[in-house]
């Protein structure tokens, strides 16, 4: 570890859910993009206060669901009609009703796996370490403190003015966090 660490961002600590709620609205209105809030429990509607945009994950799930359904159906068509035709109970080779349950299951399988792993990818998980873990105060996030972190990489970030913004938003404490993701 070198001595001149890079600034990761500014970490502001709040004492209550309502304090972080109004603070999030202020940070949102200031036009920041690369920032996040961390709370010990789900604060309802905080996503609205933060102005979080709807995720594009649903489209990914829809696309992969359709892909799964179509490929399952095509695969069964190929195996039962082209590659290895078997006469089962005198039914036609291309018997769609028999393929529906598997098509359905594969559609669900692809959708669910995409939703789960897509969420992982969007959240950049697994992240084995994070600069925030260097902060002693941040450990309280799993107990009774609420935090906002604004990244230095944000275009609007300016050490002095951003610190002033956070301090003016009702923060109990503001500190600089160093390190790289």
């Amino acid at each position: 570890m070198s001595d001149n660490k890079k600034l990761y961002g500014l970490l502001a600590e709040y004492d209550s859910a309502s304090a972080i709620y109004t603070a999030c609205e202020k940070v949102r209105d200031a036009g920041f993009k690369k920032w996040d809030s961390c709370t010990p429990f789900c604060v309802h509607n905080l996503d609205k206060a933060m102005g979080v945009k709807p995720s594009f994950l649903p489209w990914l799930v829809l696309g992969m669901g359709i892909t799964g359904g179509v490929s399952a159906l095509c695969f069964m068509l190929w195996t039962s009609v082209a590659d290895y035709p078997l006469n089962i109970g005198g039914k036609p080779l291309w018997s769609v009703p028999a393929y529906i349950p598997i098509t359905f299951e594969v559609t669900v399988l692809f959708s669910c796996l995409t939703a789960a792993f897509g969420m992982f990818a969007i959240c950049r998980l697994p992240t084995l370490n994070h600069p925030l873990f260097e902060s002693e105060r941040f450990k309280k996030v799993t107990d009774d403190k609420f935090f906002i972190i604004i990244e230095a990489a944000d275009d609007n970030f300016d050490l002095a003015s951003t610190r002033a913004l956070l301090e003016g938003s009702g923060a109990a404490h503001v500190e600089e966090v160093e390190g790289e993701l």
Binding site: C42, H44, N45, L62, G89, P97, A98, I100, P101
Partner: protein
């Protein structure tokens, strides 16, 4: 969240709005519909009874769906639905009237139900006679109506009793009763579907049939509730009681039950198709020729894929117009579904295996009977809508419903 308050004037039908005359509109529809049905009745009584049965079953599915909705809200101690529950309660309270509406079905029993004049050589009907005999059939019918009326009355009276604002403890009793209520409901509606729909084709049987009927009835119920709530809000009622969040949830149910309907319908079909046993395939065999095949082939698309893809998006469910279009579409498809269950059995009596049901022929009597029976439903529904508050504002969870949000 700041606590919301609701003005009492929001909870009554606005003066001068068309909703204040709903019972009169219903009465007019009932007179016109049933009158027109009866006018054409003399031409072919057997066909006339089938028209009536179609109208009866379709409307009954709505009333039964309403009761299921109310019972489930208590069963799971739902909070979100308190602002909209009263609409379903009004629908549920029409159930006693269906005992009267059942009279024409009784009169036409011999034309509707082949097994009532069982031929001695019919092995299947002989074997089923311990269950499918007229005496037991009527005993069961009476039991259904008594149970439904009792359940509806027990829940409706106590819910309305809370309207004054006190007696919040009544909810406790209804919650305690709801597991028994839902069990009674599930068994009675399932057996009613066996008796009144499945036995139209007495050789055929499907153990999942009651669930299939339930899926359709819930689709009708949620669509109907969405439309009534939108109409009431346009008239100026319930403005702060029902929000986009509630419509979103109703939309989710419409979407979910669309999938459920298809799942159950396909489960029923696939086992029969796979096994290929004569007395089982008979049901689909009759519905794959003479005009019925168009409905049979269309249903997976129009009753499943279209509403599924349409209601898939969150934005459509949260949009009033989008949800209204979905609701109307689903109701029309549900009516077609019941038509497809009932009418192919007409004159299919005594058909030998391999013979098809007669050609599909929609006549004015079908529409007239449906409008007439639905008019009777609307008469009672409209009367109750105007008699009591539009929302169960006395329920202890009412405020929870006002602040309801989907996260």
């Amino acid at each position: 969240m700041e606590a919301k308050t609701v003005d009492k004037s929001e909870l009554v039908v606005p003066e001068g709005s068309i909703w204040g005359k709903l019972h009169l509109i219903g009465l007019a529809l009932a007179v016109i519909g049933l009158g027109a049905w009866y006018a054409g009745f003399g031409d072919d009584p057997a066909r006339g009874y089938y028209s009536y049965h179609f109208g009866f079953i379709t409307t009954l599915s709505l009333a039964l769906g309403c009761m299921a909705f109310v019972l489930i809200q208590y069963l799971v101690r739902a909070g979100w639905s308190m602002g909209i529950r009263r609409i379903a309660e009004n629908g549920m309270m029409t159930l006693p009237v269906f005992a009267l509406l059942f009279i024409p079905v009784v009169l036409g029993a011999h034309d509707l139900f082949h097994w009532t004049h069982v031929e001695s050589h019919d092995k299947f009907l002989k074997a089923k006679a311990p269950y499918l005999n007229e005496g037991f059939f009527y005993v069961r019918a009476i039991a259904y109506f008594v149970l439904w009326s009792l359940l509806a009355a027990v829940y409706y009276r106590r819910s309305v009793a809370q309207d004054a604002g006190d007696k919040k403890e009544l909810t406790k009793l209804l919650v305690v009763l709801s597991p028994a209520g839902i069990a009674i409901y599930a068994l009675s509606q399932s057996f009613a579907a066996f008796d009144w729909l499945m036995s139209l084709q007495p050789h055929w049987y499907s153990t999942i049939f009651g669930v299939y009927f339930f899926a359709g009835s819930m689709l009708f119920t949620f669509s109907f509730m969405a439309l009534v709530l939108m109409g009431l809000q346009r008239a100026g009622a319930l403005t702060n009681v029902v929000t986009t969040e509630h419509y979103h949830d109703i939309g989710k149910f419409m979407f979910g039950f669309t999938v459920f309907w298809a799942y159950i319908g396909f489960s029923q079909f696939m086992l029969i198709w796979y096994a290929n046993i004569p007395e089982e395939v008979e049901f689909y065999y009759h519905r794959l020729a003479h005009g019925w095949e168009f409905i049979s082939w269309a249903m997976p698309i129009t009753h499943f894929f279209v509403p599924f893809l349409f209601l898939l998006s969150r934005h459509v469910k949260r949009n009033r117009l989008g949800l209204a279009v979905g609701a109307v579409w689903i109701i029309v498809m549900h009516i077609v579904d019941i038509y497809w269950l009932v009418l192919p059995n007409f004159a299919a009596h005594g058909l030998k295996f391999g013979e098809h049901a007669p050609h599909m022929h929609v006549n004015m009597g079908d529409f007239a009977a449906l409008i007439g029976v639905f008019g009777v439903f609307l008469t009672v529904f409209g009367f109750l809508l105007n008699k009591n508050l539009l929302a169960a504002s006395g329920d202890p969870r009412f405020e929870e419903s006002l602040g309801h949000e989907n996260y």
